[in-house]
Symmetry: C2
Subunit: 359 residues, 2 copies
C-alpha cells in the first residue's frame, strides 16, 4: 500500500513522474551519449519548458548540478572575491553563510530568530558585499521571503549580485529574472522527482564576474565554474556526464506543469496552504509557527504541536491513513510538524490529510 508523502524533500512524486521514467527507459536514455544530438534536444526541451514555467529570459543560463547544495558552493566560488552578505533565519540560509566562510570569504550575516522573516526596509547591506544571499523559502522554519522584497533589495543594490535559494518553493515564487541575478532549486521538492539533480539559473553578469575573478587568479572551481557551464550550454551540453534521465524527466514535468499553467499552480498552492493554516489556527493541538502572515511559506507549512507528541501524530497519521507528514527540523523535531504543500498533492489530498489529523 503506497504512502502519500507530505514531506518537504524528498517528497511525494509528481503524478506523471513514474511514467516519464518508464518512457526514459523505453527510449534507452540511460545509454545515449551526452554529446549526441538526442541529448542536446532533451536539454533544450527542458530549458524551454523551464523558461516558460518560470519566465526566465533567453539570456540566462540554465545549468544542472548534482544537488542544490552544490550550487551554494558554486555561487560563492564564482561571484565572491572577498565578501558576501547573508540573510540568515534557519538551517539552510545558515549553511549558505557557512559555505562562504569555509571558502575563506568574509561572510556577513543579518540574522533573525527561527520563524521570523525579512522585509526590504529593515535590511542594511554591508558596503563591500559583492553578493547578497536570500532564501525565498527557508525549509527548516517554513518562512518565505516575498519576491517583491527580494526585487527591492536588488534595485537598491544594483552593483551587487542577488542570489535566491528557491529550493523548497520553485516554481511557486513569481521571481523577476530580469531583476535578480541567480536562483536555484533541486528536483526533489515541488517538482516531485527523485533526488539527484540541482538546477542553477544564472545571468551573464555572473559569468562576467567569474571570468574577471579567473584573471585575478581566484579559484573559481573547475568543471562547474560559470565559464565552463556557459560554454557547454551554448550547445546544450554539460561539462561532465550528467543525470541524463533526470534532465529529461524534469523537462517533462515542467511541460506537464505548463499544461496546467503556472498561474493555476500558484492559485492552487495558495488555496491548499490556506486550508492547512486555517486548520492549524482552529485546531486545539496545533498552532501556526510563523507569526507574521506575510512570512508564512506557501509550500512548507510549519506548525507547533501543543499538548501532544509530534512523533505520535506522525506515527498515527501514517498508521491510520498511510500519509507521511514531515517532522520538525533539527531541535524542533519533538515539537513541530512540517507539512509540505508541493504541486504533487492536490486539494483533495490536502483535505483528506486535514480530516485524518482532526482524528
Amino acid at each position: 500500500m503506497r504512502k502519500t508523502y507530505f514531506t518537504p524533500g524528498p517528497a511525494e512524486l509528481f503524478p506523471t513522474v513514474e511514467q516519464h521514467y518508464r518512457d526514459a527507459f523505453e527510449l534507452q536514455l540511460g545509454s545515449i551519449s551526452h554529446r549526441s544530438a538526442q541529448f542536446r534536444s532533451i536539454y533544450q526541451h527542458t530549458v524551454e519548458q523551464l523558461r516558460i514555467l518560470m519566465d526566465i529570459p533567453e539570456s540566462n543560463g540554465i545549468f544542472f548540478t548534482g544537488s542544490a547544495t552544490e550550487i551554494w558552493e558554486r555561487i560563492i566560488q564564482n561571484t565572491v572575491e572577498h565578501e558576501s552578505f547573508h540573510l540568515v533565519n534557519g538551517s539552510f540560509s545558515k549553511k549558505f553563510y557557512d559555505f562562504s566562510k569555509e571558502l575563506n570569504k568574509y561572510a556577513h550575516q543579518y540574522e533573525k530568530p527561527f520563524g521570523e522573516g525579512f522585509d526590504y526596509a529593515e535590511i542594511t547591506v554591508p558596503e563591500y558585499s559583492e553578493l547578497i544571499c536570500t532564501t525565498a523559502n527557508e525549509t527548516s522554519s517554513g518562512v518565505q521571503m516575498r519576491p517583491a522584497e527580494i526585487h527591492k533589495l536588488k534595485r537598491a543594490n544594483k552593483d551587487k549580485f542577488v542570489a535566491v535559494d528557491m529550493v523548497s518553493s520553485a516554481p511557486y515564487p513569481d521571481l523577476d529574472f530580469n531583476t535578480i541575478d541567480t536562483a536555484f532549486f533541486s528536483v526533489q521538492k515541488s517538482f516531485g522527482m527523485p533526488a539527484g539533480l540541482g538546477c542553477w539559473i544564472a545571468n551573464p553578469a555572473m559569468l562576467e564576474k567569474s571570468n574577471r575573478m579567473k584573471t585575478h587568479e581566484n579559484q573559481i572551481g573547475t568543471y562547474h565554474s560559470l565559464p565552463s557551464l556557459f560554454k557547454n550550454f551554448e550547445k546544450f551540453e554539460t561539462p561532465e556526464t550528467p543525470n541524463v534521465m533526470a534532465i529529461y524527466v524534469l523537462g517533462k514535468v515542467a511541460e506537464d506543469m505548463n499544461k496546467i499553467g503556472i498561474e493555476t499552480i500558484r492559485k492552487e498552492t495558495e488555496r491548499k496552504a490556506k486550508l492547512l493554516y486555517s486548520f492549524a489556527e482552529k485546531s486545539d493541538f496545533l498552532e501556526i509557527f510563523v507569526k507574521n502572515p506575510e512570512h508564512r511559506s506557501q509550500t512548507v507549512v510549519v506548525v507547533n504541536v501543543v499538548g501532544r507528541s509530534a512523533a505520535d501524530i506522525i506515527k498515527q497519521v501514517q498508521a491510520d491513513a498511510n500519509l507521511v507528514i514531515g517532522s520538525g527540523y533539527g531541535d524542533f523535531k519533538a515539537s513541530q510538524l512540517r507539512i509540505a504543500n508541493f504541486a504533487a498533492v492536490n486539494v483533495e489530498q490536502v483535505e483528506a490529510l486535514i480530516e485524518v489529523m482532526k482524528k
Copy 2:
C-alpha cells in the same frame, strides 16, 4: 526495437537495472528521507556489496558524488596543498591534470603519446609531489595501466598519495586498496546504470591530510570535503540530499555481480576482450590501436579503421543489427572505433557484434 550499446559511457544497461529501478519506485525510494533509517540501511547495503566486490577494507570510506568528474576536483582540493603529479596519456588523464592547474596547484605531468601506456620503471616522481594521479583505464585511447604497476608506484612513494581513475574499468582492475590511497568510478560505465552518481573510495590518510590542510587555512571545499564526507559516512548518511535511487540500484547491481563472482567477471571480461582484439588483428579494415599488449584496455577496445569511414561502419552496424559502437574520441572520431566491453554485454552479444562487423 531496442539497441544494444557498445559505447564507453553512457553504456548498455546491466540486465537487471531496469527492474531494480521499478522496485525502487515501488518502494517509493524517491520520497524517503535521506536522514531515515531506511536510507541508512540502503547506503550500508551498497557499501557492503562494493567492499565484497572490489575487496575494499573497512577503514576506507565509500562516498557518493554527482559524477566522477567532480571527484577529480575533490581529490586535488583535499590532498594537494602545493604540488601534484600526473601520468597523462589521453583526454581524461589530461583533464585531471588541468583541474589541478585550475585549482591553482603546481601540477607536474609525465606525458606519453595517445595510445601508449605507463610502466613503473620509467616513471620519475617529482620530489615534492603530494599526490600521484594514475588512470587505470584511459577511456579516450583504450590504454590500461596494470594494477601491479600502480602498486609498485605507491610502494616506492609511500609518503605520497596515489589516486586511481578507474572510471571506465571498475570493477575489473584488481586494485589493492591497502596499497593505493584512493580510487573512483561512475555508474554509467561497467556498472551499466544511467548516469548520475560518482563513487569515491578514500582511506583515512586522505582524511588526515585534508584536516591538516584545513588547519593551514587551505580551501578544501564545503559539503564534499573529506571531513564532511567521512563524518556523515559514520552513520551511513550523506552531507547533502543524494541520488537515493542510484545508491540503491548500485548496491543491487553490485549484489548481482557478487552472485556471479568478481573472478568470473574478470575472466569473462578478458575472454570477450580477446575475441575483439583477435577479430581486429585478423580484420583487413581494422587494426589494434594500442601497440603494447600489456597496455591494451580490457574494457574499452580501441581500433583504427583502415580504408573505410569509421562513421559509415557505425551507421551500418546500427542499421543492420541495432548495435551501437562507440566512435573514436575527439580528433580520432573519423578514424577510430571504441568498442566498450563492459559487464552488461555477454560473450554471445560480443560474438554477434563481431559477426555483424565481418559484414
